[in-house]
Amino acid sequence: MAFLSTLFSQAINGLQSGSIYALVALGYSMVYGIIMLLNFAHGDIIMVGAYVVWMATANFGLHPVVSILLAVAVSTLLGVTIEKVAYAPLRSSPRLSLLITAIGISFLLENGFQLIFGAGAKVVPEFLSGPSLRLGGATVSFSAMVTLAVTVAIMIGLTLLVQKTRLGKAMRAVSEDMGAAQLMGINLNTTISFTFALGSALAAVASVLYLSSYAQASPTMGSMLGLKAFVAAVLGGIGSLPGAMLGGLVIGLAEALVSAVGLSVWKDGVVFAILIVVLLVRPSGLLGKPIKEKV
């Protein structure tokens, strides 16, 4: 029984961090699905979102809800701006140029924030608090419950958006065949901007959930988080939304279980080993469609 309750607690720990990976991985997957770009600046959008929350709550004393909305707004705007300024001019260039630009943007954001706010971590006052739940011998913290609930809600919302709305249809069409979609009268720029906006808004939500459990914002917080979310996206099958979700949760659970058995030092190693194994054995990921090379 004691063993079961520990297992349950560790599973909750894994699902909580996995949910954050999943939200970030969704952003990676959507952007890749549309313009075949691995947007390595995506992790840093989370960092910006976290700093916005910090500024709003710690410096200006705004209400948590206002600061969350502000973070979503700023991140969305930033995501779209980056797309317009840095990626759009390179849309017809080789994909490698885009990738390098993405890495450049990532460095620019990290170092820019380090320059402005310093390298130290900023403490965000607790803004999501509530009673924790006791289930038998296990405790489920309030932030864990909120994180899981928000993630499930977002997943459902996103699925409806992509499957049922006109913009969702446009997104799917563009990801299937950009040229044909354009010929069918789909506005490419709007669709791509919308994808970036959506991904960045999800990143902002992820940053809020991240802060609810870790409470510190630092300039480099997005880099490892982003990389792990990238692994999650690849594991689930990059370009596939349910895949990103599944990948995130699997990565989170794997990390928690590795730490739980006392191998916490190997945590990052295990995550990247998963990446290598997936790329070797099943490059299209768990839920991805096998890639057909056009001849």
Partner: protein, 407 residues
């Protein structure tokens, strides 16, 4: 239009890079040429002559807040002594170089100090640079004292082997890493009646591992059961899995020999995982206040080299217009005090400053130090040239770090 925006952006980026480069080289140039004499009163032609002392600190790199604090602390004491007439009527002339926190720079700076003809060296600040300088100073028998390098290898020739012999000329004003671990284990056992303890430490961090090993060894010696030894790697933010394990064993205390940012997260997540016992830590906890809620931190005990000293703090503020930034400043002050006391002993023997006999006399005097009252405690050195002094026990009460007792 698109082209224009791109070009403008590129120019902005190039400019910002150039600005970075410019300020970087500017500061390093300033650092390199900072052979500042310590005091305007350091007139070597004065009646009693002067004694040249070298000061090495990293004052322009990423850890410059440590180096500047040590330098300011040391200069504060030296200026006080000079203003009061110097040592044996001689002014102390300080030759200060910036070692930029790099071992090679530190060795170069030390060689320049030799050319300048210094009699003793205060420095360096970081462990790596201090060991690099210690190798050189050992070869020439130069008295050296570091304010803040905590690794055993600073004075021990082979840090793994206590019988390997020591660098007789090298001393330090701070605790060594294992000392804090032992102190906390003793404190937990004797003062808190602890029977079970767990540890969480950062792998690959010498400070964290050094404290943790000493703590665990001492616990075994005292008969305290160590229930969990949990580890994490640098940069981790999620400790919930480890904390769930610890919460399950429910030890009396958790020893977390880490730095404040991590400590804050560890405490918060431990409470979320349902752990209700007390946290113990080393001096890395200093400044943890804002990083976790007062409620979660309540009762945490850590040891520190410095408990607060009003006279020192007001003197520091008057001299530099800022509050004492960290414990490095008082340690720098004490390092200077120890060195100048030893210089005084050599002066009393009527030796000529700069000669080998003089340096040997300074080293002997440092070794024989007994009861020099610094702002961080009363000094005496053990067989490994490490200070024997009690630690200040600090406790978190309502989010404030409160000094409780010397232990």
């Amino acid at each position: 239009m698109k082209k224009f925006v791109c070009t403008a952006l590129a120019v902005c980026m190039a400019l910002s890079l150039a600005a970075c480069g410019g300020s970087g080289s500017g500061s390093s140039a300033a650092g390199g040429s900072s052979a500042a004499t310590g005091s305007s009163a350091a007139a070597s032609t004065g009646e009693g002559g002067s004694i040249k002392v070298g000061l090495l600190a990293n004052t322009s790199d990423a850890n410059a807040n440590y180096g500047n604090a040590v330098k300011n602390g040391a200069m504060l004491y030296i200026n006080e002594v000079n203003a009061a007439g110097g040592v044996n009527g001689k002014q102390i002339e300080v030759v200060a170089y910036d070692d930029k926190g790099e071992a090679t720079e530190a060795v170069t700076a030390f060689n320049r100090l030799l050319d300048d003809g210094v009699t003793a060296v205060i420095g360096s600040v970081l462990t790596g640079t201090t060991i690099a300088v210690a190798d050189e100073s050992y070869a020439v028998g130069m008295p050296q004292i570091t304010a803040s390098a905590t690794a055993p290898g600073v004075t021990l020739l082979d840090p793994e082997d206590e019988s390997s012999g020591i660098r007789e000329n090298v001393f330090r004003a701070c605790f060594i890493d294992p000392f804090q671990g032992e102190k906390m284990a003793e404190y937990a056992f004797e003062k808190m009646g602890v029977k079970t303890a767990a540890v969480i430490f950062e792998t690959g961090n010498d400070y964290s591992e050094g404290l943790k090993n000493a703590f665990v060894e001492k616990c075994q010696e005292l008969g305290v059961t160590v229930t969990n030894e949990e580890a994490y790697s640098t940069g981790d933010v999620d400790f919930k899995a480890q904390m769930t394990n610890i919460a399950k064993s429910a030890p009396d205390v958790v020893f977390s020999p880490n730095y404040y940012e991590d400590d804050g997260k560890i405490v918060t997540q431990a409470r979320q995982a349902g752990y209700e016992g007390t946290f113990l830590g080393g001096d890395g906890w200093s400044g943890v206040g804002p990083y976790a809620s007062a409620e979660d931190l309540e009762g945490t005990v850590y040891c520190s080299a410095y408990a607060g000293d009003e006279t020192f703090e007001s003197a520091y503020e008057a001299a530099y217009g800022e509050k004492v930034p960290n414990m490095f400043a008082p340690l720098g002050y004490d390092a200077a005090k120890l060195m100048l006391a030893a210089l005084g002993a050599a002066e009393d023997q009527g030796l000529e400053a700069g000669s080998d006999e003089y340096k040997a006399a300074v080293i002997d005097a440092l070794k024989a130090t007994d009861g020099v009252e610094g702002v961080t405690g009363s000094y005496k050195f053990d067989e490994f040239n490490n200070p024997i002094k009690s630690a200040a026990m600090m406790q978190l009460q309502n989010g404030e770090e409160v000094f409780t007792e010397m232990f």
